[in-house]
Subunit: 194 residues, 2 copies
């Protein structure tokens, strides 16, 4: 069963897919209509070959510019800095934000040997030479994300822009008693007058 | 992002893969080396086109006969009846069983409209005309599996073969107190002298 085992191995190499799941997926594919499998294989190949990075912000794109950068109705004076394209997707789904993005492609992590030069900070600075009013630092609320946000905030402080950090707090719909102490402390610290 | 969304949709159609996971997988593929993605797509296509069903037992196979049926060292006088090819794989991994298999391709389930004619029972009866000594019914220990086993047992009783059912009991390594009552009752009922 060489071909089947090869497909199992391919699925098992995907992140978060264990051997059992890989097997289940491979068996499913074996039982799919041949035309559907052909289409799946083609979609996989197409996605990889047609999707690239936006020349301006680093977001995933199928054109030279991503859909956000190419949209003249977006507010070009605000740039939201995120770790990767999935974060752009997550924020876009809120339909709240109307500015542009900048995708770092990683976070500063000395332990993993990722320094400021390994992520897209230089291209961010280049963009800030233009007409930018505010930079929102929206890296993850974890150690690397906070360190990266702090690094960038310090770096661009001399430019005199408004630099903000997304709010930490209790997730909407969550129960206070289940929130961890750090989140709860941040929620109290960041309280607003009603 | 048409191509990316298409790939997300493909992953999301796989069993047990939700939208979030599908997205994670698609983004991962986008970041894989193009050559690796090409190979993955090819492996998927190959597996589907090269893998078929064994002409004798219905197990998955890349030849006319599956690896078990084609092996002259297997004991052809014992046939183990299972629901699908994944069960064959699971039993083979124990390296305990040396007989042949018969894959039903489903179970009898009136609620889902699956009757005895929808699974490979006729071909099983054909095989029992040969030199078979024992039939092991190894369908799942759930309602459909039990019903299917009972149906087949009744059907082949007149042939005078030994018909057995795999043992129910407490899984090895499990704790008695966490076993459900039905399993525990079956374990006591199936007790053996030491």
């Amino acid at each position: 069963m060489e071909y089947l085992q090869r497909l199992v191995a391919q699925f098992a190499r995907l992140p978060g897919i264990g051997t059992k799941t890989a097997q289940r997926l491979a068996y499913h594919v074996i039982n799919m209509p041949p035309e559907d499998v052909k289409q799946f294989a083609r979609d996989m190949f197409d996605a990889r070959s047609k999707v690239r990075y936006c020349a301006v912000c680093g977001n995933l794109s199928e054109q030279e510019l991503c859909e956000v950068c190419a949209d003249p109705k977006r507010d070009a004076s605000v740039i939201c800095v995120v770790r990767d394209a999935r974060d752009v997707h997550a924020i876009e789904k809120t339909h709240e934000y109307r500015g542009l993005y900048h995708v770092l492609g990683g976070t500063i992590s000395p332990l993993e040997g990722t320094g400021p030069d390994d992520i897209a900070i230089h291209s961010l600075l280049k963009r800030l030479e233009g007409d930018v009013r505010e930079v929102i630092l929206a890296t993850n609320p974890d150690v690397q994300g906070e360190a990266t946000a702090a690094y960038i905030a310090r770096l661009i402080a001399p430019l005199g822009l408004v630099v903000t950090r997304i709010a930490h707090g209790v997730p909407v719909g969550a129960e206070l008693e289940y929130a961890d102490e750090v989140t709860l402390a941040k929620a109290i610290e960041g309280r607003r007058q009603m």
